[in-house]
């Protein structure tokens, strides 16, 4: 799943470790999400949205075609 996590993180000058700490996950998880290798769970996606004060859809792009 494409996402803007890296961009949002860079705008705030946060490292992956900073973001991982804020979300209470491992840095590896942040790295995997940013690279599109791993999709976060719904609770984690909500956490991310609350952290950046954005809607989930503004951060994550659903690439599935119906």
């Amino acid at each position: 799943m494409k996402n803007k996590l890296k961009i949002l993180r860079a705008e705030r000058d946060w490292t992956q470790a900073d973001l991982a700490n804020a979300l209470n996950v491992s840095r590896q998880t942040i790295n995997a999400i940013e690279k599109g290798k791993f999709d976060p769970s719904l609770p984690l996606a909500f956490k991310v949205a609350r952290l950046f004060n954005l809607a989930i859809e503004d951060i994550f792009e659903d690439e599935s075609k119906d």
């Binding site: 705030r12 590896q28 998880t29």
Partner: protein, 139 residues
């Protein structure tokens, strides 16, 4: 990010703590298993009830290991939990298939020296390999 240095290792520290708990309790469980096995082999126990007590204590430690491992899984983040549960599923599947194949080989007398530990070894190595594969895949 303010406070990040203080908090940055929260997840890492919890993981380390859980890892150590698994290691320590696994060691205690394994040690108790070896102790009971050797005690029975060399006749250290004076009575059969002592053997039973030793086995019950060993089983209790085994249950503690299970509890600690489940607690470990529940504290993992999404990705780490996926890696661990995928590894467990693969290890269980391989163990299941291996044990049935092993049984057939025993029935067909291609294997005469039956060792249940063979299946355990396959399960452990499959689990370890699967965890490593998962960590590399999501690097």
């Amino acid at each position: 990010m303010s406070g990040s240095k203080t908090n940055e290792l929260n997840y890492v520290n919890r993981s380390k703590k859980r890892n150590w708990q698994i290691i320590i309790w696994s060691f205690i469980w394994t040690a108790s298993m070896v102790l009971v096995d050797k005690a029975e082999l060399y006749g250290w126990f004076g009575a059969s009830w002592m053997t039973i007590v030793g086995i019950v204590i060993n089983a209790f430690f085994g249950l503690v290991v299970i509890y600690v491992y489940v607690s470990f899984l529940n504290e993992l983040d999404d990705l780490q939990r996926k890696i661990q549960t995928d590894a467990l599923a693969i290890a269980m599947g391989v163990s299941l298939v291996s044990s049935f194949t092993y049984g057939l080989l025993v029935t067909a007398k291609y294997i005469t020296d039956v060792e249940i530990s063979d299946i355990t070894v396959i399960m452990v190595f499959t689990y370890i390999a699967s965890v490593i594969y998962g960590q590399v895949k999501y690097r």
